[in-house]
């Protein structure tokens, strides 16, 4: 084999290896030559330069994208803010104490505290230690006037996120915060432009969801500074080496939401002093018109790092102000669920629409009595009456007739038990119970009695307000299950549309027209029939409203407690109040879900809020063709100032159990 290599061939190959050797030698000599040129010929200049000067990269912070409402009203913007930094290319860390004492003298504060701050301060990739964020303007001008005394302490101008409407819609908009080490690791894998310690990042809501669009691209400049931190020489060259070019920052893309800020303000005001949520949605597109959670918080608190006191307040508040209730709060939907059971009944042809059931106030099933909310009973009840008067007894019997699997099947059709897919993080799925689910969750069999309370939306069933909005939308739009969304457009910094979100129909629930109409008729009766549960609470003169009330029990009551007046119970035992409504009934343009924690009754506590929101919506939409024209303009323009808090208070009628 190898020995058969011809001698001449071997010789030729050796010759080529010798040639390679010569190439290797030449390359290495070139490298050594260059080293000699840099270190011997130019060495002195480089050394002197490096002792006196430094070329510093300077970050040009990108403007974060603005957020607008559907009409172009500015709802999140930026303003300058000043940070105190220690530049250790000017003075060593060891000298910091000396300078910090000078600084403390200047501002008349405790020098020891300033030094402690320095020790805790983190380093950034650009060679500074950030000592304080968002310092007052007075300190800025004080420091600027005495800069020559304390060169390493410098002011960095950064951009602060501001929320002109304060706490209104805070959960939807979200807030910023300093990027964590974990986020840096996770994000820098995908991000084209890496995050560094000290950077801000969207932590919640749209700020988080659209981080990639909003963030923009930081620019960079290179500045030669001398040991005193002064800018020197030209910016083009260092010792004959070309200085890297300045790269401008690119502003983040603007986000246009589907919400209407006027409605947001109204909803926020309606929820003042309550714990709950208001969601409004266009039942034909899935655009979220309003999403408000109460209690709320001030997102600007987070913009330049939240103080530990404020954080503690938020975390220890028993009402969980950071929770975005419309998409996160999961509760039994109560009687609202009856519309789904009614749909199941009709689809399965389990009942004739005119057939009646006698409601005597209680129904014995097995060895247990199931009570109707109306102690004396509803008498003869057909489907229409069962929905509009929310007869529990009717639905107990129907649930028994349908069985748990059928109920679970139709509920899942309407989106229960799964996130709606709204473009916000941390949405919860609710719970859609079934025997299989119970087996997996508790390792227990399904008891027949649980099917009965399933019929009135009690028991293990849990839903979020936005799930209810999606389900009701499907009922009023003829079965289209929509994917709700809050971001309509992404507009780049030059004003052209980068991304337009088109409404997304997840699927259509097929059913004959009569079925939809029958249920809609029942829902219209709830508000408009004098015997309807929300007749006194949800009716408005100028616009016709339909809907369904719901009151969900927080705990399982003993027999003696069933008819105890809710308002006499301790707060945490009171029922949750729901109302899901739509308007106008002829051609629904808006679906509103209001949810009040421990509000006692859907009719009296939740329905009036939905009604007020709908009335306000109607008022806006009949006048807005003028306003809309005025507000159209380049979305970059910073205009509206926050309005004065609206004076008008919601008139909520006296309480009454449904």
């Amino acid at each position: 084999m190898a020995l058969l290599d011809r001698r001449s061939d071997v010789e030729a190959q050796r010759e080529r290896v010798r040639l390679l050797m010569r190439i290797v030698v030449v390359v290495l000599l070139i490298l050594i030559g260059r080293l000699g040129y840099l270190q011997l010929v130019k060495g002195k200049i480089f050394e002197e330069y490096s002792q006196k000067n430094s070329l510093k990269p300077f970050r040009l912070e990108a403007l974060r994208g603005l957020i607008f409402d559907r009409h172009g009203t500015l709802i999140v913007e930026n303003e300058p803010s000043f940070d105190l930094v220690y530049d250790f290319s000017i003075a060593e860390d060891a000298q910091a104490e000396y300078y910090l004492r000078l600084f403390a003298d200047l501002t008349r504060e405790n020098p020891a505290e300033a030094v402690t701050q320095f020790k805790k301060a983190s380093m950034t990739p650009y060679g500074f230690r950030y000592l304080r964020y968002d310092i007052p303007k007075r300190t800025v001008s004080l420091l600027k006037s005495r800069q020559w005394e304390i060169p390493p302490l410098q002011i960095m101008t950064r951009i602060k996120r501001t929320y002109p409407w304060g706490a209104v819609g805070a959960h939807l908009l979200g807030h910023l915060g300093e990027v964590t080490k974990g986020e840096i690791r996770a994000r820098n894998r995908e991000a084209e432009h890496p995050y560094y310690e000290g950077d801000v990042i969207g932590k919640l809501g749209v700020e988080r969801q659209r981080e990639a669009d909003l963030r923009g691209v930081d620019g960079i400049d290179f500045i030669q500074v001398n040991a005193r931190g002064r800018r020197v020489l030209s910016n083009k060259e260092v010792l004959g080496l070309q200085v890297p070019q300045r790269r401008e920052s690119v502003a983040g893309r603007n986000v246009v939401l589907t919400v209407d800020q006027s409605l947001q303000n109204k909803a926020h005001q309606l929820l003042q002093g309550k714990v709950g949520a208001l969601v409004a949605m266009d039942p034909h597109t899935g655009e979220i018109l309003t999403m408000v959670s109460s209690p709320s918080f001030l997102p600007a608190l987070f913009s330049r790092g939240i103080s530990s006191d404020s954080w503690k307040d938020l975390m220890t508040d028993p009402n969980h102000p950071l929770m975005n209730r419309p998409i996160q709060s999961q509760n039994p939907p109560g009687s609202i669920f009856k519309m789904i059971v009614a749909f199941a009944l009709l689809s399965e042809r389990a009942i004739h629409p005119e057939a009646t059931v006698h409601c005597g106030g209680a129904w014995k099933y097995g060895n247990r009595y199931f009570h109707c909310w109306k102690k004396e009973g509803h008498g003869e009840v057909d489907l229409y009456k069962a929905i509009s008067q929310s007869c529990d007894l009717f639905f107990y019997q129907m649930a028994d007739r349908l069985g748990v699997d059928k109920i679970a099947y139709y509920a899942s059709q309407f989106g229960f038990g799964a996130p709606t897919g709204v473009d916000l993080a941390h949405e919860t799925a609710g719970i859609l119970p079934s025997p299989a689910w119970k087996r997996a969750r508790f390792d227990l069999p399904w008891y027949p009695g649980e099917t009965i309370s399933y019929g009135i939306g009690q028991g293990y069933l849990l839903a979020t307000p936005i799930q209810i909005a999606v389900a009701l939308s499907a009922i009023v739009n003829g079965g289209y299950l929509l994917k709700p969304f809050v971001v309509r457009d992404i507009v780049d910094h030059e004003g052209s549309v980068f991304q337009h979100v088109v409404p997304d129909v997840r699927y259509r629930i097929e059913a004959p027209q009569e079925i939809w109409q029958t249920i809609q008729k029942g829902l219209i009766g709830v508000v408009n029939d004098p015997s309807g549960t929300a007749y006194r609470y949800a009716r408005a003169k100028e616009i016709t409203i339909g809907g369904k009330t719901g009151t969900s029990q927080v705990i399982q009551f003993g027999r003696e407690d069933v008819y105890t007046k809710c308002e006499n119970l301790p707060y945490e035992k009171r029922h949750h109040a729901w109302f899901a409504g739509f308007a106008p009934i002829e051609d629904p343009k808006i679906v509103v879900v209001s949810f009040i924690e421990h509000g006692c009754a859907g009719s009296s506590a939740a329905a009036p809020l939905a009604r007020e929101l709908i009335r306000y919506y109607w008022q806006l939409s009949t006048t807005q063709h003028i306003t809309k024209q005025e507000e159209k303009g380049p979305l970059m323009a910073v205009k509206n100032k926050p309005p004065e808090a609206e004076k008008e208070a919601a008139d909520i009628p006296a309480e009454e159990s449904e």
Partner: protein, 370 residues
Amino acid sequence: MKRSFVKKSFLSAIDFPTFGIVILLIAIGLLNLYSATGRDLANRSHYFEMQITWIGLGVLTMGLVILLSHLTLERLTWPLYIAVLLLLVLVLIAGTKVYGARRWLDLGFIALQPSEFLKVSLVLLLAKYFGSDRPRDSYTLTQLGLPALMVGLPALLILLEPDLGTALITLLIAGTICAANRIQKRSLFILAAVVVLIIPIMWTFGLKDYQRDRMLTFLNPTSDPQGKGYHAIQSIIAVGSGRLFGHGYQKGAQVHLEFLPADHTDFVFSVFAEEWGFFAASAVLLLFLWLFYRGLTISKEAKDRYSAFLALGATALLFWHTAINIAMVIGLMPVVGVPLPFFSYGGSSMLTTWACVGLLLSVRLRKFAR
């Protein structure tokens, strides 16, 4: 028979000059790494200990390579090549992204860079191809088709990661091995014409400024996350300020380099040149030169074509890494992100380096074997 020969006089048959240079280089490299990671006190011992671990694993790899007979090496060539190809595909699908490039395969306990292993696997494959399958006269363009495919496919996969530096190195290693063969003059001319004419013409006239920029950042996003040329200029100033004798160990004014994410990987030599000066830096380069000389001599004196190509490939791998890294550090080349053998921090690169040393020693060891 071979086996017994290896066992009998294993130690005496080791090429001590080569081994000595390697030990010297690795010692200097380790000392330098300790200084280069000096600013990053929190991670310093981590880097240092990890590097020692990698050196240990590297030495084991070297031992394994030496112990395997060339027959076994030849048998392992194709399975190894195919395994690495699969890994390269896998890294594109499931690789960990760092600054927009998928180069790493996270195995949970360790992260690997399959493209590093490709280089060694390719040396084995090309040695096998050119070492056994030899046409009577010289290679024509069509006969170079198969090796071109062997190299081109993985090079393309690496380019897709994207990792311009490694793709370039891969081509250079393969090119060197090919160049050691007799290639038909006409084919050689055509090849040279293609490379010399088409590429620069395309680059200069076919692309607009922003396209070039975009392509460079696309192909090589990790090299310059903070601004074009900043690393290069800081590195040149650091090297230059080292002058004749340097600032002294751990005394480099690393204020220039502390923000470089790569000062313990790609720019590690600028730390050395700054702290030790011209004498020491060129001495290290001469050590490298000696190593390459030893490598080529081993190739020249190998007992057969296969062994000769093995040694040549291993030397080419070490040479191109060294040349490109140093050229980059002293501003003779754009920043492409290639590690310096024995000096740069990193596991995959360390294993590759030691595997090459193993190949060289293995060929030397079997010089007289029948």
